[in-house]
């Protein structure tokens, strides 16, 4: 194993009395695509901000490229790209001005910044909109521009905080394709998301965070195998009657989860579980058997209660 590109040990972030990140250990190898999953408020963004060297750890150690983040912030920032959760684009400037100017912040010469701007416009499929004012772009285009801009310094590590939140399905797929290409070029990706399909698509390895701690770690496949059954039976009952079904369903499969809109039965054989449920007198309005997904793991580990 090579030296880790990112090495966090017992990392803590406090804001006053509130502990946002509560002692996490993370290592990311060069070339990996690594994900932080978790509900809102789990501490993902605080972790990302520490990794981006814009927020100092309250406790613990954080090393990037072998440099101590507490003392080498500017040097580390020169080697990473950051796609923040909220765009920080200059909406009054044109697409190419945004790229070119950002290159200048990384001390690129005018000519070099111009050359990379041209390349990145193509990469982000924005060449035709080069002179458009950013304010007039669609959400997907702005996101692609944010990613393009974060690549202007040819970073070894790209940080993406909820890169596709708020985008339509087409825009998300275009973005995933671009990120996949970067990964193939050897760029290390670290991202946060609360979309399970995004995590399954992009991440080699991920951690699930909840209340500032890491509650599980592994590849998407291994997490599903470890925490979920092979199949899941989804039952929908008349509205408001989910809680009354638990007695009838008790003991079927390995576990049941009552969600606001449906009841999940975790079983290795979903069809058999459905037959059992019918035999016990359950009369769902609809039933569906599917393979277990990362979402099931997520729901199990982070609890089903709605988190604001």
């Amino acid at each position: 194993m090579t030296a880790p590109l990112l090495d966090a040990h017992r990392l803590v972030k406090r804001f006053g009395d509130f502990t946002a990140v509560n002692g996490i250990d993370v290592q990311v190898q060069p070339g990996e695509a690594f994900g932080f999953l978790g509900p809102n408020g789990a501490g993902k963004s605080s972790t990302m901000r520490m990794i981006a060297c814009v927020s100092a750890p309250s406790e613990g150690s954080l090393h990037m490229f072998g440099l101590d983040a507490a003392t080498h912030g500017a040097a580390i920032r020169a080697r990473i790209g950051v796609v923040p959760q909220l765009d920080t684009l200059d909406t009054e400037l044109s697409v190419q001005e945004n790229l070119w100017l950002y290159g200048r912040f990384f001390d690129l010469s005018r000519a070099e910044s111009k050359r990379r701007t041209k390349e990145l416009l193509e990469f982000a499929q924005l060449s035709e909109r080069a002179d458009s004012i950013v304010d007039n772009l669609s959400g997907g285009m702005k996101r692609r521009l944010s990613i393009a801009r974060s690549l202007i310094n040819e970073p070894e590590l790209l940080l993406l905080d909820e890169p596709t939140t708020g985008l339509d399905p087409q825009a998300r797929h275009v973005l995933w394709d671009r990120l996949y290409r970067l990964k193939q070029q050897g760029v290390t990706l670290v991202l946060t998301t609360h979309y399970m399909d995004e995590a399954e698509q992009l991440c080699d390895r991920l951690v699930v965070m909840d209340q500032g701690r890491i509650v599980a770690e592994g590849s998407p496949r291994s997490l599903i195998e470890q925490y979920a059954t092979r199949e899941v039976l989804e039952l929908r009952f008349a509205a408001g009657t989910n809680d009354q079904q638990t007695a009838a369903l008790a003991g079927i499969g390995e576990r049941q989860e009552v969600l606001p809109d449906r009841v999940l039965v975790y079983a290795n054989d979903g069809e058999a579980a459905l037959v059992q449920a019918h035999d016990r007198g359950a009369r769902p309005e609809s039933a569906l058997v599917r393979r277990a997904s990362l979402e099931d793991v997520f729901l199990l580990l982070t609890g089903r209660s709605l988190v604001d």
Partner: protein
């Protein structure tokens, strides 16, 4: 990260370049208004009020033996820089942190909070100087206000601009909403415009108001600028006034950097 000193002047220059690039989209509108407004004041007050003032011989003594237009001109130059740099350090600074969030974009590059603050200061100096230069060109057209003293006055205007820009930047960084800006304009900038020595010697005011008028940097800048344009220069006093103006700049920078660092790198 703990030191106040920038790594080099490159960082502030890059930030100023950012402001310039945005300004290029709006400069026509901007130059016109920052030129027209002082011209209207100069015509309305200098010529209108001036004809009354100049007819009264005892007023001429109070004004140091110059015509009212010549007396008001340097005051307008400096107040123009003050008003411009004050406004440019309110909403745009809040925009950098809260609306467009450009400062947050810069925070993830190797540039630092110090670079952003000094870059803003540098840009304000340029804006203050160009606005004052535009007014100077117009003043040079008229024999009564034409003077080589207009050249150093541009520098004074730039310094006064920064002396307002930097403390106001510190205020804007910590402001939660933009409502405070209108109050700052109404209860600080406009009273200074009226009572800061631009239109009449502050010795005409009650002593308490005189002392209040001397606290902000405006009056000091106006006195120095007027010395240059009228040719009555007391060099020792000029040095003292300029040092006081620079003190405001320095304090504004230090507080701004501290506050911005806390906002950008929590």
């Amino acid at each position: 990260m703990a030191t106040l000193a920038p790594r080099s002047l490159i960082g502030p220059l890059r930030v100023a370049e950012w402001h310039l690039l945005i300004y290029r989209r709006f400069w026509r509108m901007n130059v016109l208004s920052s030129f027209l407004q002082p011209m209207l004041y100069l015509l309305g007050l200098g010529v209108g009020v001036g004809s009354l003032v100049d007819a009264n011989t005892s007023s001429s003594d109070t004004l140091g033996g110059v015509s009212y237009v010549a007396y008001v001109a340097p005051g307008l130059l400096v107040t123009t820089a003050m008003a411009l740099c004050a406004a440019e350090s309110m909403w745009p600074v809040m925009g950098g942190l809260k609306w467009q969030r450009g400062y947050h974009g810069i925070a993830t590059t190797p540039l630092t909070a110090t670079d952003i603050v000094l870059g803003h200061g540098l840009w304000m100096a340029v804006r203050g100087a160009t606005a004052a230069a535009a007014v100077s060109v117009a003043l040079a057209l008229f024999p009564e206000t034409r003077s080589w003293g207009l050249v150093p006055t541009v520098v004074v205007a730039a310094l006064v601009g920064m002396a307002f820009a930097m403390p106001i930047m510190a205020f804007s960084i910590n402001a939660e909403m933009d409502g405070g800006f209108a109050a700052l304009q109404r209860f600080f900038i406009i009273p200074l415009f009226l009572f800061g020595g631009a239109f009449y010697p502050i010795t005409q005011l009650p002593v308490v108001v005189q002392w209040l008028a001397k606290i902000p940097p405006l009056w000091h800048g106006v006195v120095v600028a007027r010395g240059f344009t009228t040719g009555n220069i007391d060099w020792l006093a000029t040095a003292g006034h300029l040092a006081y103006v620079c003190l405001w700049i320095a304090v504004g920078i230090v507080v701004s950097v501290r506050r911005l660092r806390r906002k950008l790198y929590p």
